[in-house]
């Protein structure tokens, strides 16, 4: 028996290594909402029956329309894999909800259904019917458990105060009101400026709605603080100020010139690739009045500064804050990046990777994703979708570094991109990658570099991937070619 011991140890070690590497996977394909919530979706569709609230037939009809639209909004989001139910991130967020519910049983008699949205936007929302949705973006953005708890408590408060349901009722009532009908008809009575008049009718409603919404937001803030206090979770008003910067991730600067991130992989780099060579208007100093922003009167949320000022004296003094575990942050960030990649939003995806590198993150998964981005871009170029894959935006909306990165992806010559793909294929990080990631490498190589660019070949390669990696999260990407 003795001579076999090392062999058994080695065998066990291989098995455990396999187990470890499987655990390292962010999530499985079956965690995507159209798999995971399949049954809930069906039962939810049946359970969400519009209550009969109005004697007026047309108001009840309109209310039902709005109600049903909300149901289909949720079910189609489930079908579209907008949500994910992984183990770690979900349980962490759900744990906060459990804590809040436990301490506030009178206000929240039943624990709400939590959905984790894969969106990168630092946001959360309440859908009514005891459902709240938390975006991966807010999980990645929040630094402490208390910050995330505030966001969740705020959304729970909306549900407690029936804000989503009341908003639907108000809408149904307004759309079927005599006043609305009168206003609309007056548009046709006028010979001139009909569009302006119609816009005014709709804006009047939006303005009044937004004003109410602002009150609702303030109410939700106040109640959220109560929920937190009862749960012994410290509140810090500073978070409202930090939320102000949540949308400016792409206006951040990188720590080193873009060139350095690429030469670190032994990829040749020319500075002129990042300098816009176009003669077009994008390079000119235009300064048209910005009309894209939301008018202050139409904003649904009070300014973060206003929220801060209103609540700062409620900040828990001398509180100790609990950092969100690094593993949760890391996972949320990776899931975001993968989701962006699946949607072929390559520039924001790559920029986030470079920001991770700036933080000193040496996780080789990000190297793997850089390979995917480079091959993905080359593949998009081959398919004549490079422009959309880059997602070209104006220089005014991003930092100089982001714009240079975007320009690089736009202008790097095709031949160099091919060279990048080939060089990265031979990079050292691959030896530490899991089998599914190595299979992705093969799939991407076929898509981008195989001389046979036929759909048949792409489908074959994708099927080959999915057959060996049925549960892999990367199947979501491969399935685009098998369908």
């Amino acid at each position: 028996m003795f001579p076999f011991k090392p062999l058994i140890t080695a065998f066990l070690a291989i098995i455990s290594l396999q187990a470890i590497s499987q655990n390292k996977s962010l999530y499985s394909l079956q965690d995507l909402s159209h798999f995971y919530y399949k049954k809930q979706k069906d039962s939810l569709s049946k359970a969400w029956v519009c209550p009969s609230l109005y004697n007026e037939k047309k108001t009840q009809k309109k209310y039902k329309e709005i109600w049903d639209d909300r149901t289909s909004f949720l079910t189609s989001a489930i079908d579209g894999d907008d949500f994910i139910h992984d183990g770690e991130v979900y349980n962490y967020v759900d744990g906060i909800i459990t804590e809040l519910v436990k301490a506030n049983k009178q206000l929240i008699p039943e624990k709400p259904l939590l959905l984790i949205d894969r969106s990168s936007s630092a946001n959360a929302y309440a859908l009514g019917q005891n459902v709240i949705v938390v975006n991966l973006g807010i999980v990645a953005f929040s630094q402490t458990k208390e910050e995330l708890s505030l966001v969740i408590a705020h959304e729970l408060s909306h549900n407690i105060m029936s804000h989503p349901d009341n908003a639907m009722k108000q809408r149904a009532e307004w759309l079927t009101s005599d006043e609305y009908e009168k206003n609309l008809n007056s548009v046709l009575d006028s010979k001139y400026e009909r569009l302006s008049r119609l816009k005014k009718v709709l804006e009047t409603y939006s303005f009044s709605r937004s004003k109410h919404q602002r009150y609702h937001e303030s109410d939700a803030d106040s109640m959220a603080i109560i929920l937190l206090k009862k749960s012994n979770i410290p509140f810090n008003a500073d978070y409202f100020l930090r939320l102000d910067s949540s949308d400016i991730i792409y206006q951040q600067h990188l720590k080193t010139p873009i060139k350095n991130y690429f030469t670190a992989y032994n990829l040749p780099f020319e500075d002129n690739w990042t300098k816009k060579r176009s003669k077009g208007l994008s390079t000119k100093a235009y300064s048209f009045k910005d009309t894209s922003g939301v008018e202050d009167s139409l904003k649904t949320h009070p300014d973060c500064v206003e929220r801060y000022n209103k609540t700062r004296n409620l900040t828990t003094s001398g509180a100790k804050y609990t950092s969100i575990p690094a593993s949760i942050h890391d996972k949320a960030q990776k899931m975001l990046i993968w989701n962006m990649y699946s949607n072929m939003s390559l520039t924001p995806c790559l920029f986030r990777i470079l920001l991770e590198k700036d933080k000193g993150n040496t996780d080789e998964w990000y190297d793997f994703m850089l390979y995917n981005i480079v091959t993905g871009l080359y593949f998009a170029d081959r398919e004549m979708h490079r422009f959309n894959a880059i997602g070209v935006v104006q220089k005014e909306l991003t930092s100089k570094d982001y714009y240079e990165l975007q320009t690089l992806l736009e202008q790097i010559p095709r031949e160099q991109l091919e060279q990048y793909c080939k060089t990265l294929q031979g990079a050292g990080f691959w030896s530490h990658m899991q089998s599914s990631e190595k299979a992705m490498k093969t799939l991407m190589s076929t898509l981008a570099l195989d001389p046979d660019n036929s759909d048949k070949n792409k489908t074959r390669a994708a099927k080959e991937f999915t057959s060996g990696n049925e549960n892999s999260m990367y199947c979501e990407f491969a399935q685009m070619f098998t369908k």
């Binding site: 309440a126 859908l127 119609l198 709709l202 060579r277 003669k279 208007l281 004549m384 104006q394």
Partner: protein, 520 residues
């Protein structure tokens, strides 16, 4: 929170649209849009979407101009009120956008009664309006030049309960930037044709009457530095073109060139463009053989109706600067072609559809080649049925020759006039067609070219029946083949910023169109 808001707003819009469909439909009827590319020195630098929003008064409308950069990103909006406008062109120079419109208080209006129609006709005022916009959204200046328009025979006729002022300018309107100076405008109405130059502040530099030979039409407007070139086509003879020259800073300068070779042959014109290397204007086309020119069909063409091809280079301000390059094949001087223009290597004929210049001064003529064969069956049938009288007449009606499409041919003409086949671009294949019945319709290809000054390369885009072929002159090969139909997606390509094409994909299932600016 924002997502929920967007969803709710979307719901609101949908609900409202259902509830008050009539209101939205009627308001929507007044909204009309035109999309135009913005050009500077023949390069596409952006786009404008010009939208008529609503009727603002009895004779004016509210308009919105959305300005987009070359990547289709919105960069600004300008709103204004005016009479009825039709946008002809947009040009850019020194951070100023110039837009040229046809403006009227009568044409394109709808009147509810004949009386109102008549009253408006009596007060009719139409003009060419040039509008100058700065990049901070200010309208720097607007100019109006009065024009005379004759109502069309359909004007005033009832069109769905209304009387419409119908009519249009006699000639089209051209607008081009003048490097370092401003803009040149070319237009023609019932009484006159004029070329007008403006600086970037919108101040008129000069206005000149375009004096062509006789009964001419305005064909094109180009500039090279501060020189302005106007191309006219004289309708007295089908192949008589002329170029008139002006100078933005020197109103006294004039230049006139009539297209005719030294033998007195007329010239057809297929390209009037700028040399990408020097900016000089050049023109290219066929030399017509007057003795053999008959009807314009593949049969006559194969009989040698064209004597050769030419390039005329307008290398400077004087007539002596013009260099004419004529390459005749009807005199037997070309080893590549027989006297009828048949390519001796491929045994094909090519009706060149256009030409472009490379960065070394050579001209490349491109067009679809075709072969011509006798319809042996028809000839035999005719011979056999001669005694029956009627059948041979019937057979002869379909002709005795047939044509078949062959690859696109690119013929290089050196500055000295030597011709050589640069390359062939294999396209979609087709069968034989009766040349008598189909004329040139068997040639389903359309062409345009895109110059990339940075890489000093030119791409020829061949839009064929089933595929789009992109040929690289430097690469000497087709670098991309894009099928028009791939599954449920229909693909088309359009010109875009330098070195790029705009790819438009229509998804039949989703009924949606996506556009993308792709590198060549």
């Amino acid at each position: 929170m924002k997502k929920a808001l967007s969803a709710i707003l979307l719901l609101l819009t949908v609900c409202v649209a259902h509830a008050q469909k009539k209101v939205f439909q009627e308001v929507g009827e007044d909204i009309q849009s035109q999309v135009k590319a913005i050009y500077q020195d023949n390069s596409l630098v952006g786009y404008v979407v010009f939208t008529q929003l609503e009727k603002a008064s009895a004779d004016s409308f509210n308009y919105k101009i959305t300005i987009m950069d070359e990547n289709l990103n919105d960069i600004g909006v300008v709103k204004f009120k005016e009479n009825k406008l039709f946008l002809y062109g947009v040009s850019f120079e020194q951070d100023v956008l110039c837009l040229a419109y046809f403006k009227s208080n009568f044409y394109y209006y709808e009147f509810p009664t004949k009386k109102e129609y008549k009253a408006a006709q009596d007060n009719e005022k139409s003009s060419i309006m040039t509008q100058f916009l700065s990049l901070d959204g200010k309208i720097i200046k607007s100019n109006d030049i009065s024009v005379k328009v004759t109502p069309s025979p359909y004007s005033g006729k009832i069109a769905s309960k209304t009387f419409v002022g119908s009519g249009s300018l006699k000639q089209t309107v051209f607008l081009h930037n003048v490097q370092g100076k401003g803009f040149a405008l070319l237009y023609g109405d019932e009484s006159t044709n004029r070329v007008v130059a403006y600086n970037t502040a919108g101040t008129q530099l000069f206005e000149k009457i375009v004096e062509g030979e006789s009964n001419f039409s305005l064909q094109n407007l180009l500039t090279n530095g501060q020189y302005i070139y106007v191309l006219l086509k004289n309708h007295k003879n089908d192949a008589n073109y002329e170029v008139l020259g002006y100078h933005a800073a020197d109103p006294s300068y004039t230049f006139k060139y009539l297209f005719k070779d030294k033998k007195g042959n007329f010239l057809t014109l297929h390209t009037f463009a700028n040399d990408p290397s020097t900016g000089n204007v050049f023109a290219s086309g066929f030399i017509v053989d007057p003795e053999k020119s008959g009807s314009d069909d593949p049969n006559d063409f194969a009989k040698g109706s064209m004597a050769g091809i030419y390039t005329i280079n307008f290398n400077g301000p004087k007539k002596s600067d013009v260099s004419e390059v004529y390459s005749y094949w009807n005199d037997g001087s070309q080893s590549l072609f027989n006297k009828r223009g048949r390519n001796l290597e491929s045994n094909t004929y090519t009706k060149y559809r256009g030409a472009f210049k490379d960065f070394q001064g050579n001209t490349y003529f491109y067009g679809t080649s075709y072969i011509k064969r006798a319809k042996i069956g028809s000839i035999i049938s005719t011979v056999l049925t001669i005694p029956l009288l009627v059948p041979p007449i019937y057979i002869s009606a379909f002709g005795y020759s047939k044509v078949k499409i062959h690859p696109t041919i690119l013929v290089k003409q050196t500055p000295k006039g030597a011709l050589s086949v640069e390359n062939t671009v294999d396209g979609d294949h087709g069968g034989f067609y009766s040349s008598k019945l189909t004329g040139w319709t068997f040639d389903t290809r359309s062409y345009y070219y895109a110059t990339d000054p940075e890489k000093k390369n030119t791409h020829l885009i061949v839009n064929d029946k089933k595929n789009i072929f992109i040929y690289s002159l430097n690469g000497k090969k087709v670098i991309r083949t894009i099928p028009h139909k791939d599954g449920g997606t229909l693909t088309y390509v359009f010109p875009a910023k330098e070195g790029h094409i705009m790819v438009s994909e229509y998804n039949k299932k989703a009924k949606s169109t996506t556009v993308s600016i792709e590198s060549l």
